[in-house]
Symmetry: C2
Subunit: 145 residues, 2 copies
Amino acid sequence: MKPVTLTIGELAARSGVAPSALRFYEERGLIHSTRTSGNQRRYERSELRRVSFIRIAQQVGVSLERIRDALKELPEGRTPTKADWTRLSARWRAELDDRIALMQRLRDTLDECIGCGCLSLQSCRLYNPGDELAAQGSGPRKLLG
Amino acid sequence: MKPVTLTIGELAARSGVAPSALRFYEERGLIHSTRTSGNQRRYERSELRRVSFIRIAQQVGVSLERIRDALKELPEGRTPTKADWTRLSARWRAELDDRIALMQRLRDTLDECIGCGCLSLQSCRLYNPGDELAAQGSGPRKLLG
DNA sequence: CTGCAAGTTCAAGTGCACTTGAACTCAAGT
DNA sequence: ACTTGAGTTCAAGTGCACTTGAACTTGCAG
């Protein structure tokens, strides 16, 4: 009779995330586990959904720190309900909407800017101060193939 | 009588990119300069447009290596014409279109997936093998504020 | 001509998100 | 009981995109 909890290897296999990454997420407080008498991690099935959420958010370009902050809003004691997740996803949906709108603006402005010669950053709409796509910190951003 | 070329400080001021970053870009072959008799860098005004392009591409999530590859297609000897830039931007526009489409798909699928409980990565549309948003390498992705 | 901001090189450091390696223990099948 | 794959910790390493610091030189204004 199989137990309901998952080993780190099982969680890794099901989520497509390496065990080392899962330990890293746990260290950073993004996911949680209990331990067996022999000190091995055991994950609730609900952690799988957390991991999924983390990967989705990362694909959208959110840092682990911000993901952790978002996940903190899920209930600590009990397994999150569908309602908990829906509430959380609503906020990410809004963020996605914003990001999509920004990228559309970027796209619609690109030809125009290059064509008109304003691509000098000073007066370009792409570099509007209000534009939240502005660079923020260093590091690689490998989001496109 | 001011010369037409820019010092690194001037290019930095006009582009909003730190001098250290400009040296870094040059080292990586993304931009080019000539030197004065005293070994200081002087930039053509057209380099400003290159820097702008680099920043725009970065905001979209493209790595410096891929940006460099794209910029290699600009003419080496002469200052790029508007046509050169338009041709280049057309490709990025296509890439932006793809990325926007993917994010829209992500958005439209998010509620559904979380609602239906499929957010277990296995069968989820968000993790379709054909989905090019799939993670590709490590590193931070700070694209949202 | 002198002073000093702005330029130069080179090596090393930073932050993020992990990965890898060493040395070890645990759990399950034969 | 023994082997073997999977798990454990901890320290160190990796890749990207830069930044910082030290030690030095240039170029312009007064």
